[in-house]
C-alpha cells in the first residue's frame, strides 16, 4: 500500500543572483518516517527549508500537504500547517524557564491572565509520552545544551506540529546526548510524527533515518532507502566522487618541546569563574595535539592566552624555551607562532581588504614589503600574493585584488592557511580549522596540517568535531569546564570514551 505523504516539495527551483540555489528539487516526506536531507555546505539545504517556511518564494514548483497543494507565504503559514523546526542555534529566551519558553507566543490565558497550570500539565504529559526528560521550572541559562534542545522539541510538540524539522541537531551535543536524541526521534516517529533530519554526518543518518534525499550544488541527486545503502555510497552521492575520509599519515616522530604551558589560568568574559583553570600541556615538534571538548569549555580562552589576544591571570607559557607569557602578539608571531583563528571573519581577515593585503597581514612590516621610509612595496606584495595563491590554490574572482568579503568560506580559509603556514612557523595553532567547510576543503586542510607535522613543526589544534578529533591528531587532550580532564591516544580510544570525558562524567589527573 502506498503510504500518503505528509509533505511534498515538488520540482522546487529557487534562483539567486548568479546562482541557482535549488534546481528542480523534489522532496517527499512520508507520514511517520525519519527522512534525512544530506548535502554539503552550499548544497541548497537551507534554501529548501527557507522555501518550506515561506521565507523565500520559489520561481517554480509546488508544495503539497497531505496531497493538497498549499501556498506558504510566511512562517506563520508554515506554523498553521503544523510544520515546526529545531534550529541549529536555539531560539530560546535565556532568562526564562523551560515552561515559559515552551508556551511563548501561544500562552494559554483567560482575560489576559496566564493559565500556567494548564500549560504545565500538557508539557509534562508530552515529555512523559516521548521520553523527553525536562525540568519545566529550570532556567534556560542553567540547563545543558541537550536539555535546551529538548525544550525546542517540546515547543514543537506543544504546538501540535506534525512535521518536525531538525537542522543539524547533533553539532552541539556529546556522543551520549546524540544517542538520546536518536532515541527521541525514533519515539516521535513511532507516534506518527514525520521527521526531516538535516545533516552532513553520514553515520548518524545511517543510524536513525529511514530514507535519505541527497542534494549537491543545488541539484537533486536522488532518494535512497537507508536499508539498501552504505556510507561510501551516500558520501559519493553527496560530493560526486569517492572521498577518503581517513587522513593518511605516517607514525609521528615527536621531537623537542616547542610549546610548554604551565598552570595557566585565564579569566572568562562572561562568568565570574575562570575560563581556563590551572592548565598545563606540552606540544612537541613533529606532533599534532588536539584539544577536544564541547564548545564553551575554555578552549577559546586558552588559545587567546596562548596567542596573546587575552592576558593570562597566572601561569607560564614558553615557546621554544622563551618565556612569552606577557609578550606582545607581534613578538609571538615573530618568534614563530602561527594562528589559524576560530572565527575567520572576526580575527582572521580584514574582509574589506583585498586578498593580497590579507595575505601580508602578518608580514607587511618586513623589509620585503615596506621600505625604509615606511612606504609599502606594492609590487612585492602583489608578487608574493600571486605566489601564495598559486601554491595554495586559493580561488577568487579577481586574483590578488579580490575583496576578501566576496570570496567563498573555503577559499577564505585557504587564504588564512596559506598566510599562516608560509611564515614557516615553529608552532601552528589551528582552531576549528575546518569549521563550516565542505568535504573537499576539509580533506585539503587536514593534509596541510599533517604536512606541517611531517616537516617537524608542532601543531596544536582545537576541534569540536569528533571525526576530526579521532582522525587527525597524534594525541588528544579533552577539556571540560576549563580543565584538561584526560589525555588519549586516538588509536586506543573510542568516541564514547571521549564523550564521557567531554561531558565531565569522568576525569583523570593529567600531567603535562
Amino acid at each position: 500500500m502506498e503510504q500518503p505523504y505528509a509533505i511534498e516539495m515538488l520540482n522546487i527551483t529557487k534562483k539567486f543572483p548568479g546562482i541557482v540555489a535549488n534546481d528542480n528539487i523534489t522532496l517527499q516526506l512520508k507520514k511517520g518516517e525519519i527522512h534525512a536531507l544530506l548535502g554539503e555546505n552550499g548544497a541548497g539545504k537551507s534554501t529548501l527549508m527557507s522555501v518550506l517556511f515561506g521565507l523565500y518564494q520559489p520561481e517554480e514548483g509546488t508544495i503539497k500537504k497531505d496531497g493538497q497543494v498549499v501556498k506558504i507565504e510566511n512562517p506563520n503559514d508554515a506554523n498553521d500547517l503544523g510544520i515546526g523546526m529545531v534550529h541549529q542555534h536555539f531560539k530560546l529566551v535565556e532568562c526564562f524557564t523551560v515552561l515559559d519558553n515552551i508556551i511563548l507566543g501561544v500562552e494559554p490565558n483567560q482575560f489576559g491572565f496566564l493559565k500556567k497550570a494548564e500549560a504545565r500539565k500538557k508539557v509534562l504529559e508530552l515529555s512523559e509520552r516521548y521520553g523527553l526528560r525536562i525540568d519545566p521550572d529550570a532556567k534556560i541559562e542553567d540547563i545543558t545544551v541537550g536539555m535546551q534542545q529538548r525544550t525546542e522539541i517540546l515547543k514543537m510538540l506543544y504546538r501540535d506540529n506534525e512535521i518536525l524539522i531538525f537542522d543539524e541537531p547533533t553539532a552541539v551535543l556529546t556522543p551520549q546526548e546524540i544517542n538520546e536524541l536518536m532515541q527521541i526521534m525514533r519515539n516521535l516517529a513511532a507516534e506518527g510524527k514525520s521527521i526531516l533530519f538535516i545533516s552532513h554526518k553520514l553515520a548518524e543518518i545511517m543510524a536513525v533515518a529511514d530514507r535519505c534525499s541527497v542534494l549537491r550544488k543545488g541539484k537533486y541527486i536522488g532518494t535512497v532507502n537507508i536499508a539498501d545503502t552504505s556510507i561510501p555510497e551516500l558520501s559519493a552521492m553527496m560530493v560526486g566522487r569517492n572521498v577518503n575520509f581517513h587522513v593518511e599519515k605516517k607514525e609521528a616522530k615527536p621531537g623537542e618541546v616547542i610549546l610548554s604551558v604551565e598552570n595557566l589560568t585565564v579569566a572568562s568574559d562572561v562568568h565570574k569563574n575562570n575560563a581556563v583553570k590551572n592548565v598545563s600541556l606540552k606540544v612537541h615538534a613533529g606532533e599534532i595535539v588536539c584539544i577536544a571538548g564541547i564548545d564553551g569549555n575554555g578552549q577559546t580562552e586558552l588559545v587567546y592566552a596562548l596567542t596573546g589576544l587575552k592576558p593570562a591571570i597566572s601561569g607560564k607559557i614558553t615557546l621554544h624555551g622563551q618565556d612569552i607569557t606577557n609578550a606582545s602578539i607581534r613578538k609571538r608571531n615573530v618568534l614563530g607562532m602561527s594562528h589559524i583563528p576560530e572565527d575567520r571573519h572576526k580575527h582572521g581577515l580584514v574582509l574589506d581588504y583585498s586578498l593580497e593585503n590579507n595575505l601580508v597581514l602578518k608580514r607587511y612590516f618586513e623589509p620585503e614589503f615596506t621600505n625604509k621610509a615606511g612606504m609599502l612595496r606594492q609590487n612585492n606584495i602583489r608578487a608574493y600574493s600571486e605566489k601564495l595563491i598559486e601554491q595554495y590554490d586559493v580561488r577568487s574572482g579577481q586574483g590578488p585584488a579580490t575583496i576578501a568579503r566576496s570570496m567563498s568560506g573555503g577559499n577564505q580559509q585557504k587564504a588564512i592557511i596559506a598566510r599562516e603556514i608560509d611564515t614557516n612557523p615553529e608552532l601552528l595553532i589551528a582552531v576549528q580549522p575546518t569549521r563550516g567547510l565542505d568535504v573537499g576543503a576539509i580533506e585539503y586542510i587536514h593534509k596541510q596540517l599533517v604536512a606541517q607535522r611531517d616537516a617537524g613543526k608542532a601543531v596544536l589544534m582545537v576541534s569540536l568535531e569528533l571525526d576530526e578529533v579521532m582522525d587527525v591528531p597524534d594525541r588528544i587532550l579533552v577539556m571540560h569546564d576549563g580543565e584538561i580532564v584526560g589525555e588519549f591516544d586516538p588509536k586506543k580510544t573510542t568516541e564514547e570514551e571521549l564523550g564521557l570525558y567531554m561531558a565531565g562524567a569522568k576525569k583523570d589527573q593529567v600531567k603535562a
Binding site: 534562483k15 539567486f16 543572483p17 548568479g18 546562482i19 520561481e59 596567542t307 589576544l309 606582545s328 602578539i329 607581534r330 613578538k331 609571538r332 608571531n333 594562528h339 583563528p341 572576526k346 580575527h347 582572521g348 581577515l349 580584514v350 574582509l351 574589506d352 581588504y353 593585503n357 597581514l361 602578518k362 607587511y364 612590516f365 615596506t370 615606511g374 612606504m375 609599502l376 606594492q378
Partner: protein, 367 residues
C-alpha cells in the same frame, strides 16, 4: 558597458555626490517655496551663484577669493574627519579641535606677539592635544569618541571664550584685529592675493591645505602606517590578531585628526578674515560642515578638496538671499539643508549597488 561603468568606484562616488547636491538644492527650493513662493527661484539661484551675484569681474574675483579663504579651513576639518573615519573613529570633536586651534594661534599672536609660524604650530599642538584626550579615553577606558568629542567641543568653546577675553577689544566682544595688533602673525600671501583682485585673505592657507590633502592620501594609500590604520578601521579584532598596536594607532589617529583641525583654525583666523567673538554660545559651523564635506567627497582626500569648495560656496551663497523676502536665518537654513543631504552619499551608493545586484539577478534568472 554602462553597467561596468556604474560599478566603478570613482564613477559611483562622483555620481552619488552629484545626486546629493541636486537633491539638496531641490529640497532647499521646496522649503523656500513654502516660506515665500515669490522669491524662491531667485533665492536658490543666488545661493548657487554665490560670488557670481556680482556683475564686475573684479568683484567676482574678490569674493571667489573670500570663498577660497574659508575653503582652506573647511578642507582641514573635513580631512580630520576623513582620516579618523578611515580608522573607524567618528571624530565629531573636530569642531572643538578647530576652535582650540583658533584660540591658540590668536592668543599667541595677540598676547605674545609671536610670528605666524610659531602661532600656527601652537594651533596644531592645541588641536592635537584635544584629539589625544579623546583617543586616550577611547583606547584605555573605552569611552566612545563621539561622547568625549562632544563634551570636549563645549569645553573648547567656553575655554576659548575665556582665554580670548584677555585679548579682546574693550567695547565689543571681538578680539583685536589681527592686522592692527598682531600683524606679524598674518600668514604670508605668497602673492596669491593679487590673483583675486588683491584679496589679502588668500595666501598660504589654500596651497597648504591642498598639500595636506595630498599628504593624507599618500599616507592612507601608500604607507605601512596607512595600511595599519585602515586595517584597524575595517576590523579592529583582525588588526589586534595580526599584532598591530591597535590602541596606539587609535590615539595616533585622533592626534593627527586633531592636529589637522587645529591647523584649520589657524588657517582661517591667521588670515585676519574673522575676529573671534568671545560671546559665542554655539560652535562655529566649520567643524560640522567638515563632516558633510568628508562624506560628500566620497571619503577620498582628493574628493574632499572639491567637496569643501562646494560646501563653502553654498554657505557663502546663502548670504545673497534677498532678506526683504526671507528672514535673516534663511541663508543658514538653506545651506544647512543642502549640506545635510550631502551626508547621504553612502545611502545613494547603497541604492545604486542594490539596483545593480537586482538587475543582474533578473538577468541571471533569465539565462
Amino acid at each position: 558597458m554602462k553597467k561596468n561603468l556604474l560599478k566603478n568606484n570613482i564613477v559611483q562616488s562622483l555620481l552619488t555626490s552629484l545626486i546629493c547636491i541636486i537633491l539638496g538644492m531641490i529640497v532647499g527650493f521646496i522649503v523656500l517655496l513654502f516660506i515665500n513662493p515669490a522669491g524662491a527661484a531667485e533665492a536658490i539661484i543666488s545661493i548657487a551663484k554665490n560670488f557670481f551675484c556680482y556683475n564686475s569681474t573684479n568683484m567676482q574675483l574678490k569674493y571667489l577669493g573670500n570663498t577660497l579663504a574659508k575653503t582652506a579651513p573647511l578642507l582641514m576639518c573635513s580631512l580630520s574627519v576623513l582620516f579618523s573615519y578611515k580608522v573607524g573613529l567618528f571624530n565629531i570633536g573636530v569642531a572643538g579641535q578647530y576652535v582650540v586651534g583658533a584660540c591658540a594661534c590668536l592668543y599667541a599672536a595677540l598676547a605674545w606677539h609671536l610670528s605666524w609660524l610659531p602661532c600656527m604650530l601652537l594651533a596644531i599642538l592645541a588641536g592635537a592635544v584635544f584629539g589625544a584626550i579623546s583617543g586616550a579615553l577611547k583606547a584605555y577606558f573605552n569611552v566612545n569618541e563621539v561622547i568625549s568629542g562632544i563634551m570636549l567641543n563645549w569645553i573648547g568653546l567656553y575655554g576659548t571664550n575665556m582665554i580670548l577675553s584677555n585679548v579682546k577689544e574693550a567695547a565689543s566682544p571681538y578680539t583685536y584685529q589681527l592686522s592692527a595688533a598682531g600683524e606679524q602673525a598674518i600668514l604670508p600671501t605668497l602673492g596669491l592675493g593679487a590673483l583675486f583682485n588683491n584679496n589679502q585673505y588668500v595666501g598660504l592657507a589654500l596651497p597648504l591645505s591642498i598639500i595636506c590633502a595630498i599628504a593624507i592620501w599618500v599616507i592612507l594609500e601608500k604607507t605601512r602606517f596607512g595600511y595599519e590604520l585602515k586595517a584597524t578601521g575595517y576590523n579592529k579584532n583582525a588588526a589586534k590578531y595580526s599584532g598591530m598596536a591597535e590602541k596606539r594607532n587609535m590615539i595616533l589617529t585622533l592626534i593627527i585628526g586633531g592636529a589637522l583641525a587645529g591647523l584649520g583654525g589657524s588657517l582661517l583666523y591667521q588670515t585676519g578674515y574673522e575676529q573671534w567673538q568671545c560671546t559665542h554660545s554655539s560652535l562655529p559651523a566649520m567643524g560640522f560642515n567638515g563632516i558633510a564635506a568628508a562624506f560628500l567627497g566620497g571619503l577620498s582626500p582628493i574628493g574632499t578638496i572639491f567637496a569643501s569648495f562646494f560646501i563653502q560656496h553654498i554657505t557663502a551663497g546663502g548670504t545673497y538671499v534677498d532678506k526683504t523676502m526671507y528672514c535673516s536665518q534663511i541663508s543658514d537654513l538653506i545651506s544647512a539643508i543642502i549640506v545635510y543631504l550631502c551626508g547621504f552619499v553612502g545611502f545613494f551608493k547603497y541604492a545604486i549597488n542594490t539596483h545593480i545586484a537586482k538587475r543582474e539577478a533578473r538577468k541571471g534568472g533569465n539565462e
